[in-house]
Symmetry: C2
Subunit: 126 residues, 2 copies
Amino acid sequence: MGIKRRTKSVTTMLSIFESGEEALSVVNLVERLKNQMNKTTVYRILERLEKEGAIHSFSGTNGLKWYAKCSQCTAHHHNDIHPHFECKDCGKVECLEVNIPIPSIEDRNIQSVDVLLTGQCTNCMI
Amino acid sequence: MGIKRRTKSVTTMLSIFESGEEALSVVNLVERLKNQMNKTTVYRILERLEKEGAIHSFSGTNGLKWYAKCSQCTAHHHNDIHPHFECKDCGKVECLEVNIPIPSIEDRNIQSVDVLLTGQCTNCMI
DNA sequence: TGTTTAATGCAACTTAGTTGCAAATATAAT
DNA sequence: ATTATATTTGCAACTAAGTTGCATTAAACA
């Protein structure tokens, strides 16, 4: 049970994710939406959108929470194992459409895989 | 410049890492050492030990900071690319001695790789 | 149009982690 | 052994991310 009502705030949030290709930190969203909705509302809408499978979340380098809408985000299902990339120079975070093969681990039941790559993005490599 | 003086607090901290094989969260360390040293001291000793290469740090599922001393932790150098495993049932976190091959990513300069696997550990699989 | 239930705002709170500064202590020099 | 000096620690106050409870607002559906 994710989003039940298409409120103005939900629409606003979704349009932000539709328009861009990058990931967005919650901190960034709270800041940029502070005139349009409450901090708590930002957190709760993101939570519901993720539960629905519209977006997915992950942790950045400093433990901050990020959200992104990627091509693999499908309703009611989210089982992508793509890595996330954080540019240490400009701070940009994005989903990489690359498959990371995880070897089977003995004696353990692996249920989720999170891969965070850090380095320089295309612009900052120069 | 990591540890300069072998204080009682530093010795205590190191002995904790020597004795166990698991990773330890900062929260856990602050709690278990609260009668022996200040919270700030815990944070600072861990920071210095990591700078020295005696231990290494990483983020757990909720963005919490964890530290561990693994076989690959060597003085003045720490370039292991092993995954970390967090058991969602009992909460145990550990380093896995497995190599995760990261494919080369075009147009990006990858400098660090963090892999967090979540699932059930040996004990909790039953 | 009214009723129900989900969603929001607000304020207060929790928790992880940080900072500045004075006091304490390990280590090196005398 | 004593002193000097630079590192380390404790403390208290702070910052920032994220959460909670509750009263109010507003979708959606009959």
